[in-house]
């Protein structure tokens, strides 16, 4: 498999989008990630990750509803494309494979020492 150009942070954002499903818009993604990562994230970092992944074809987006709280501006709902989904699954598999390849004994020995 060709190495996908997906950064660590981008991968997290992509996962968040997949997890949130229909609710995946900027603020919600930010909230979700902040909760899980336990640190504050800037709108800029999330937005640039989203836009970059959209350009690469991992995501698509469309306008959603507008709320009073948003000053009447519409949300943009992100959904993962099948390509994006596949890349995520691939990454997970690669990781899982690598994890299982770590010799248990070696790891335990090192942690004992």
């Amino acid at each position: 498999m060709k190495i996908t150009k997906l950064g660590e942070f981008e991968e997290l954002v992509l996962l968040a989008v997949a997890a949130l499903h229909k609710d995946a818009y900027g603020v919600e993604i930010k909230r979700e990630l902040e909760k899980r990562l336990k640190e504050r994230l800037s709108v800029g970092s999330i937005q640039s990750a989203l836009k970059r992944m959209e350009e690469k074809g991992f995501l698509t987006s469309e306008f959603g509803e507008a709320t009073q709280r948003r000053g009447g501006k519409r949300k943009r709902i992100y959904t993962t494309t099948s390509h994006g989904h596949k890349v995520l699954a691939d990454m997970k598999e690669i990781r899982a494979g690598l994890w299982s390849a770590i010799p248990k004994l070696a790891y335990e020995l090192r942690s004992v020492r």
Binding site: Y25, G26, V27, V43, G44, Q47, K73, R74, K75, R76
Partner: protein, 874 residues
């Protein structure tokens, strides 16, 4: 009921966002930001929410979200500009000689511009650091002298206090009086000048203190030092609280009078650009102790300066209107000839600029600095012109090589405007390099060199904000000035003509010739000036001062007793030819006095001397006799100088008389004119009167030839014996004007540097042109050589092209240089060597030699060249 104001996000970050973020993302991001804001308002305070909102907005500045970057990549100009930049860099690399000539010339010019800027900034910034500069005024007055109204910086002694009492608008008042004293701390004993000031001084003139407190001057026994003085006496340690002794005179029985002061403040290092500062500050009231005769209420006497600080600059009008009453009081108190016509207030902000026109002003005048700025600007512009001419000439001469490129550009759709734009853009690149080199040159060579020569520091830094406005202006102006003509010229040609090869240009451009001619003429002007400056300096060094300063030395003495003791000791020295005492001394001090004639009044310089002074100083008597040498002789006799006799139109000056302070004086003799100031100031009408022994302040010696050093040492030794507490002050008469000659030497160096730059620019330009010319005709010369042409014929061939040009340049340049130098000499030197043609001729010869050597370097190259190589081209 009033609704509570709804909390809304701040407006300006949103506007900023709309400016820079891509339009298609706007709605989403705006909405997200607003939602987060209201979330934050609920959880945190409104203020913090706003802060987070603003901060987040700024952090949205990311490449992928910003709109302009996308635009930049999409428009085709981007690629075009990139190409222009690449082409200019390649051009620079391809012709290192031409690039060097261009960059060197422009950077030298820019270096001078930076230097001129630094100097102007320093001059205009003088005394501008005081916070209250626009509320503080110097009280001056106008009075008639010789029928000419003049402004004086002094003021009547009681005036300051009266104004302070009479007007509520005056917040502070400060009188300033300077006195020479001797300062002593442990073994450190020096002559010093102290400033007696009112306690408000440090409030009005905001010199920050390093140690101590500003208001401590209210105490009469406290003293505030400058940083230099603190270091001189106390070293680097904080001296606040230490005592320093001030010796201000000698008592009736020869004991020294002194007062101990406690250091209560040390000023921070003064800004470099200042004229009003101090070494020592003590309370004005100390004058009561140190000078018992000082009458604070005498309208007839003056204080060096009185400053007032107003609550509002607008209040000045009210005070100015009421000055009339003081004028009346003043004019009743003084004699008729000192009557003043009006008072005037000079703001501190412009005092430095104006002080040239104010007599006896404590702020030094610097008209020469303001004049120097003008000269420097002229020189900077001239050098800039030389560099631009070089650029233009080389650009035109090399244009032939770029014809194909331009033709192609035009064919694929470049308009004439775009070609012009391309050439100007290339120019900006070259000028930008020159700017970097030039600023470096200015900061590391011109400015430090200048500061080192004059032993001062302009305190100029690259962080000066105005410099960063000035430099881009220079960049654009220089690029346009040097690039506009070549770009217009080159872009003019038609594509068909270019590609067909039917256009020939570059070598026969008449503008090129005009520019080269102007360059050489300018070089000629610079050489002429430089030659004349050098000649004038040696002329001035030989010029007679009107008296004989060889084997003459002087010592400053405190009073009559000091004089007599030193006189008695020195008289025993066998090497002494003549010895005399005086109140004033040539080249050191003189007084001024108003002479009354029945029909008019004349102000002249006055020197009070004894009968031997003329012999000691070698002043030559022309008419009449000298003073008689016994006490009380010639009390009402004066000896005048020739200029005075000439000004008064006296055919026979002896026996003429006039009044000084209602006492009748009679002229008994006339001495030859002499310089009591440096050669940079004109001789003034001067009278000599007999000095009262109590007023002797100088002891002057004429010694046997060869014994100067020995006698001087003996005098110093005698002094140390007599006055162990007071440092010796005196020297050889020859050294009095050392500073003046040093200044002249520096002018010469400065001119030589400018001349060197100007001439090397002109020569480099010429060299570049000839090189290109010869390179273009290399085949022709090869064929000529093959056919048997000798070096003579080839040399004639090359020179012929430039001969007319050289002659024309010299015909214009030599007389121009002559006239300009003459003008410069006449406006800035009252005395100078006769401006003759010899210097012009010398300059012309120098220039011809330089030109010929430049041309011959090329001729030699052609001579040594193998014609086969020349024909093998392509």
């Amino acid at each position: 009921m009033i609704e509570p104001k709804p909390i809304v996000p701040p407006r300006w970050p949103l506007r900023l966002l709309r400016l820079f973020v891509k339009e298609r993302y706007l709605e989403e991001i705006e909405g997200d930001m607003e939602e987060i804001f209201y979330d934050n308002v609920e959880q945190l305070s409104a203020r913090r929410a706003r802060r987070i909102y603003t901060w987040e907005m700024l952090k949205l500045w990311r490449p992928i979200l910003v709109r302009n970057l996308e635009v930049l990549e999409k428009i085709n100009q981007y690629a075009m500009l990139k190409n222009y930049f690449k082409v200019s860099l390649r051009g620079l690399m391809k012709n290192p000689l031409n690039s060097f000539i261009n960059v060197f010339g422009l950077s030298a010019a820019i270096g001078i511009c930076v230097f001129a800027y630094a100097f102007a900034a320093w001059t205009f910034g003088t005394d501008q650091f005081h916070e209250h500069k626009s509320e503080v005024y110097l009280i001056t007055f106008f009075a008639n002298r010789d029928g000419v109204p003049q402004q004086f910086g002094r003021s009547p002694r009681p005036l300051g206090e009266m104004i302070k009492e009479d007007f509520a608008q005056v917040r502070n008042m400060c009188r300033v009086e300077d006195r020479n004293v001797v300062m002593k701390y442990k073994d450190y004993v020096f002559h010093e000048r102290v400033r007696y000031v009112d306690p408000a001084f440090l409030e009005m003139f905001t010199f920050p203190l390093k140690w101590g407190t500003t208001n401590s001057l209210k105490d009469v026994s406290s003293i505030v030092l400058s940083e230099d003085m603190a270091t001189k006496y106390f070293g680097a340690a904080n001296p606040v609280g230490l005592d320093i002794l001030m010796i201000f005179g000698t008592g009736a029985h020869g004991e020294s009078l002194s007062k101990s002061f406690k250091v209560t403040g040390v000023a921070k290092e003064f800004p470099q650009a200042r004229t009003i500062s101090f070494d020592f500050l003590i309370n004005y009231d100390n004058l009561r102790t140190t000078d018992p005769n000082y009458d604070f209420h005498d309208w007839n006497a003056f204080v060096n300066a009185t400053f007032v600080q107003l609550n509002e600059p607008n209040d000045l009008k009210i005070i100015e209107q009421s000055m009339e009453k003081y004028r009346k009081v003043q004019n009743e108190a003084v004699q008729k000839d000192w009557a003043l016509s009006s008072f005037a207030f000079e703001p501190l902000a412009t005092l430095h600029k104006r002080s040239e026109f104010i007599r006896d002003d404590i702020s030094r005048s610097s008209s020469s600095n303001y004049a120097s700025i003008v000269y420097m600007c002229i020189i900077a512009v001239l050098i800039m012109a030389l560099a631009c001419f070089n650029y233009i000439n080389i650009a035109i001469a090399t244009a032939a090589k770029r014809l194909k490129e331009i033709g192609l550009r035009k064919t694929i759709g470049a308009t004439r405007g775009l070609v012009i734009f391309q050439f100007l853009a290339e120019n900006v690149v070259v000028t930008f390099f020159a700017l970097i080199v030039g600023v470096t040159l200015g900061m590391t060579f011109f400015i430090p060199g200048f500061e080192q020569m004059w032993h001062f520091n302009m305190g100029f830094k690259l962080t000066d904000p105005n410099l960063w406005i000035y430099l881009p202006i220079i960049l654009v102006m220089t690029s346009v000035a040097s690039g506009i003509y070549p770009s217009l010229y080159i872009s003019r040609f038609q594509v068909v003509g270019i590609l067909k090869g039917s256009i020939k240009f570059g070598q026969r451009n008449s503008m090129t010739k005009i520019f080269l001619c102007a360059q050489l003429a300018l070089a000629c002007v610079f050489i002429t000036m430089s030659v004349m400056f050098t000649q004038n300096n040696s002329y001035m060094a030989k010029r007679s001062w009107g008296y004989d300063h060889a084997q003459t030395m002087y010592a400053q003495i405190p009073d009559k007793d000091g004089y007599e003791e030193l006189y008695a000791l020195m008289l025993r020295n066998k090497d002494i030819v003549s010895i005399s005492g005086s109140s004033h001394h040539l080249g050191k001090t003189n007084g001024t006095v108003v002479l009354h004639f029945p029909e008019r009044e004349v102000e002249v310089d006055q020197m009070m001397v004894d009968a031997h002074y003329f012999e000691t100083m070698g002043l030559k008597i022309e008419q009449g006799r000298l003073f008689k040498n016994h006490d009380n002789a010639d009390k009402h006799a004066v000896i005048i100088n020739e200029l005075m006799a000439k000004n008064m139109a006296w055919a026979n000056a002896v026996d003429q008389h006039f009044q000084i302070d209602s006492v009748q004086y009679e002229v008994i003799g006339v001495v030859k004119d002499f310089h009591s100031y440096s050669f940079s100031k004109p001789i003034k009408p001067t009278i000599f009167t007999v000095a009262d022994k109590n007023d002797y302040r100088f002891l002057t010696l004429k010694v046997r030839e060869g014994s100067e050093v020995e006698t001087f040492k003996a005098m110093q030794a005698n002094w140390a014996k007599l006055f162990p507490e007071i440092p010796f002050e005196g020297g050889f008469q020859e050294d009095v004007w050392a500073g003046y000659f040093e200044a002249n030497r520096i002018y010469k160096i400065v001119w030589s540097v400018f001349t060197f730059i100007a001439v090397s620019l002109a020569v480099l330009g010429l060299y570049g042109l000839i090189t290109l010319n010869v390179a273009g005709r290399i085949r022709e010369f090869s064929i000529r050589k093959v056919m048997g042409a000798g070096i003579k014929s080839i040399a004639a061939n090359i020179i012929n092209q430039y001969l007319v040009l050289f002659v024309l340049a010299l015909i214009v340049g030599a007389p121009l240089g002559f006239v300009l130098t003459k003008m410069l000499f006449e406006t800035s030197f009252p005395y100078h060597m006769p401006v003759g043609f010899s210097s012009s001729i010398l300059a012309v010869v120098i220039l011809i030699l330089i030109l010929l050597s430049t041309v011959f370097a090329q001729i030699r190259k052609v001579q040594k060249m193998n014609p086969v190589d020349g024909l093998k081209v392509e």
